[in-house]
Symmetry: C2
Subunit: 250 residues, 2 copies
DNA sequence: ATGGATGCTATTGTATGCTATCTGTGTCGG
DNA sequence: CCGACACAGATAGCATACAATAGCATCCAT
C-alpha cells in the first residue's frame, strides 16, 4: 500500500521530513515560524492568520494552531481571543523583565560551570569566540547570531535540560526585543567579555564568573537598548502632523 | 440568548465559567488536569487518554490535546508520539535539575525584593506564615500547599510576569517530584526560615536574603528528598513502578 | 510447545466543517 | 456634516470525522 496520502506535497513542510514521523510536521511548522520571527522575516506586531500560514506551509490549521500556541507560551507571539495571533511586540517593561530573568538564569549557568569546565569544552568555546571575532568586521546578523549562540553553548554544557530550555527561551525573546528596541548595528556582546568569562570559569572562581556574567549581560542591555523609538501611541506619532495641518491635537 | 450550546452541559467544565469566554474552557481543562496532578488525584506515570478526559470533562479531544500539550511543555505530563500522554515521572536527575533552576530563580526573587518590600506586602507574608504555623499541627496536604504558596506570593510581589511563570512552573514540578521521591509526611518548608527571609527582605540586605533563600531551598531538598541509598524494603521501591504500570500497590 | 506472523482494537494524528464573534463598511437619522 | 446602528465579510474557536499507528491476542507453522 503506497500510503494513499491525501495529496499533500505541494508546499514547504511535506518535503523536509521524509520519514514522515508522527509529530514531525507540527514541529516543522513551529520551527519555521520561530526562525522567521527571529530573523525578522516576520516583523513584530505582524498578524499571523492561521489559514494563510497553513496554506503556505501545506498543513492544516490544526497544526498551525498548535505551533502558535507553543510560540505564545514562549512569548514570541501574542494570542488574543478571537483576534488571532501576531508576532509579539514586547513592551519595555516586559523587556526589562526578560533581561532580569536572563541575568538570573545565566548567573546560575556561570556558577554551575565554574571549575567544572573540561578542557575540550573550553576549547570549543574558544573556537566559538574566534568565530565571533572573525565576524566582527562584517557587521551583520551573523555577528549577532554568533553572540547569542555562545550563551546557548554555555548553558548546554551545564547538562541541565530545564536550564537549557529556559535560557533558549529568554534568549529568543531577547533577540526579538533587540529587534524592536536595539540599536541598528550594535554587536551586542563584547567578545572580550566572553573570553574573560571563559577564563573565570576555568579558574573555578564561581563568584567571579557569576559577577562577570552579570556585568556582561548588564552591559549588553545598556549597550544595545536605546530609548524607545517613540512608537508608544499612534496619537503621539501623529500629533506633529496634526499640528502641521492645523488640526486639533487634544 | 442562552447561547444555543451544542448540548454540552453534563459534566464538569461547562458549569464553572458562566460567561463562556472564548478560550476559557481550554484553560479550565488545563487547570483541572493540573490540579488533579498536583494533588495526586492522578499519580505519576498514570495514562491520560484524550477521549476519556474529554468525555469526563464534557469537551472535545481538541481542547484536551491543547491542555496536554501545555502541561507537557511545563513538564507535568510526558507526551510520547502515538502513545499518548501520561503524568510525568521525573527521574532523579531531572529532579536535581529542577531544584537547581528553582534555587537560581528564587535567589533572583530574593535579590529583587530585598529592600523593596512594602509594609503591606510584609504584612501579607506574615499573615501567610501564621497560616502555615496553624496548619503545622494537622499534618496534611494543607501544610504542603501553604508552604508552596508562600513562594508564589513572594515571586508575585516582584511584579515580573516572566519570573512568576517560571517559578510557578518549577514549583509545580517540585511538588510532583516530592510526591514521588519525598518523605511521606515532611513539612517541606521550615516556617521559621520563611520568617527569617521576610526579615532579611525588609532589612534590604540583598546578599543575605539571597543566601537565606538558597539555604532554605537547599534544606528543603535534603529534608524531603529520599537519599539514593534506599534502606527501605523493596516493596516501597517498586511501588511507584507498580503504579506506573497500573498494578495494585498494596 | 514455542516462535513468529497476522488481523483486530484502541488511541493518537490530522483535516475540515460549522458556528460565534470581531472588524470594517455602508446607510440612516440628527 | 457627524454620529449611531446595522449588515456583511472574514477569522478564530471548537467539535467531529477520517486516517494511520502501536499494542495485543490469536492462530498457524515448525
Amino acid at each position: 500500500m503506497p500510503k494513499t496520502n491525501t495529496s499533500r506535497d505541494e508546499a514547504g513542510i511535506a518535503a523536509d521530513e521524509r520519514g514522515a514521523k508522527p509529530g514531525a510536521r507540527a514541529l516543522s511548522v513551529y520551527r519555521a515560524l520561530r526562525k522567521a520571527i527571529l530573523e525578522q522575516a516576520l516583523n513584530p506586531g505582524m498578524k499571523l492568520p492561521e489559514d494563510a500560514i497553513g496554506d503556505r506551509l501545506g498543513v492544516s490549521r490544526t497544526l498551525v494552531r498548535e505551533a502558535l500556541a507553543r510560540l505564545a507560551l514562549e512569548g514570541l507571539v501574542e494570542l488574543k481571543p478571537n483576534r488571532g495571533a501576531s508576532v509579539a511586540y514586547p513592551t519595555l517593561e516586559e523587556a526589562r523583565d526578560v533581561f532580569d530573568v536572563r541575568r538570573g538564569l545565566e548567573r546560575l549557568v556561570a556558577e554551575t560551570l565554574a571549575g567544572r569546565l573540561t578542557q575540550a569544552q573550553a576549547d570549543s568555546l574558544e573556537a566559538h569566540v574566534r568565530l565571533e571575532e572573525a565576524a566582527l568586521g562584517k557587521d551583520g546578523p551573523e555577528s549577532i547570531r554568533l553572540a547569542g549562540e555562545f550563551h546557548i553553548k554555555l548553558v548546554e554544557m551545564t547538562g541541565n535540560a530545564l536550564l537549557v530550555r529556559y535560557v533558549q527561551e529568554v534568549s529568543s525573546r531577547c533577540s526579538l526585543i533587540l529587534a524592536i528596541y536595539g540599536r541598528p548595528h550594535s554587536s551586542e556582546c563584547a567578545v572580550s567579555e566572553h573570553r574573560e568569562l571563559i577564563d573565570a570559569l576555568l579558574s573555578g572562581d564561581a563568584r567571579r564568573a557569576a559577577d562577570l556574567m552579570d556585568h556582561h549581560l548588564q552591559s549588553v542591555v545598556s549597550r544595545a537598548l536605546i530609548a524607545p523609538r517613540a512608537d508608544k501611541d499612534i496619537r503621539e506619532l501623529l500629533a506633529p502632523y496634526a499640528i502641521g495641518e492645523g488640526l486639533t491635537t487634544t
